[in-house]
């Protein structure tokens, strides 16, 4: 797998880079884009590709290993864990969206926006993405 396309990071975020990595890998495994046995870039490859401190990468990988998303194969390479043979059901995938939508819901309340307008905007954003 090309390490430069494996994940993307945003600097300037309130979310630490290692958390961004964890969440992207989780989502890709949940969606079935990464499946059991798929090899992921080594710490070295990804640190070089992203120009990020290697400890940031190894911290993310260790946590994904503890969660059972990744596992270590003999040697040092990490692969997607055996239990992730196919995409998760949409019911469990949507749970991964809950924290982001919870935050959007909190902000919408602070802005005192009617629910229909907020949902309308989300629908529009989803449509824009699928056309792009």
């Amino acid at each position: 797998m090309d390490p430069s396309h494996f994940v993307q990071i945003n600097t300037g975020s309130t979310e630490p880079i290692y958390r961004q990595l964890i969440e992207q890998v989780r989502r890709r495994v949940a969606a079935g884009q990464l499946k059991a046995g798929d090899e992921i870039p080594s710490v070295r490859e990804l640190a070089q590709a992203l120009a990020v401190h290697p400890m940031t990468i190894s911290k993310a990988y260790s946590m994904l290993e503890m969660e059972g998303v990744l596992e270590r194969r003999r040697g040092l390479s990490m692969v997607v864990a055996a239990q992730h043979r196919r995409a998760q059901s949409s019911a469990s995938r949507i749970e991964l969206l809950r924290p982001t939508l919870q935050k959007a819901a909190d902000e919408a309340r602070q802005l005192e926006l009617p629910a229909a307008e907020v949902i309308g905007l989300l629908t529009q954003l989803l449509d824009d993405e699928s056309k792009a």
């Binding site: 309130t14 070089q48 120009a51």
Partner: protein, 295 residues
Amino acid sequence: MTAQSTHFPHSDIATAELAAVSLAYPKGGAVLKGLDWALQPGQVVGLLGRNGSGKTTLLETLLGLRLPQQGRVQLFGQDVTRLDDDARARIGYVPQQSDLFENFTAAQLLAYFKSFYPRWNEAKVEGLMSRWDIARDKPIRKLSGGQQQRLSIIRALAHEPDLLVLDEPVASLDPVGRRDFLRELVEQVLDRGTTVVFSTHILSDLERVAFNLAFLSDGRIALQAPLDELLEQVRAFTGSVSELASLFARLGAQPLKRTPLEAGRERVLARLPAGVAAPLDAQAVNLEDLFAELT
């Protein structure tokens, strides 16, 4: 988790240690005021401070290029004023102002420095000279600012230092050049476990490579911590002074910066203990916020 990579022999001796260091300029007044600071082997520390806060003075003091009026500076466990040749050869420095000999060509400059060091990685030098497209046989004064800065970085890396001190090393580099330089730093850390201290105002670069951040404020290191922990533990709170005092007591939060607002209210940046969930109405902060509030 420690900052020490498992690939390298562990050392209990700090790579650099400053204790109660004070330095004042004859006309300007105090710059460093009883400053304590330590860089542990293998750490990559980003040094943050406002313009004029004394970052360059601090880095020069750390290297023994300026002598403080009070306090003690040690590198690799040795007094910085009495470093042996061995310790000297373990230091690489990229100063803010280029100090390259302008009438030399790049090739002459590198040959000159090579003669001082017991170790010199010719393959790395040649690789970087080609990759970074630096003319070998032109006088240095005819190179662009960016090329001079790259040459200064190559000179600092060539002898494979264990301590790399970088004072605004990317100021004249374009974004592609900066990314290239950061990759080179990452490689140093991966291959050699180099201790790095790095000052820059380009926060996105620090965010990528500096695992630890040190905030220089009012002549002292006000705070040093891993960036990940700061992003997870520091929150901005707004409320009445008494409300916030009891909230912080309950959470065990440590106030870092207070800004008084009107009507007995204040905004406080506070650090929560590890593992304590932040209250919902507390605001998360990014590196730019931390820079603005803590320097």
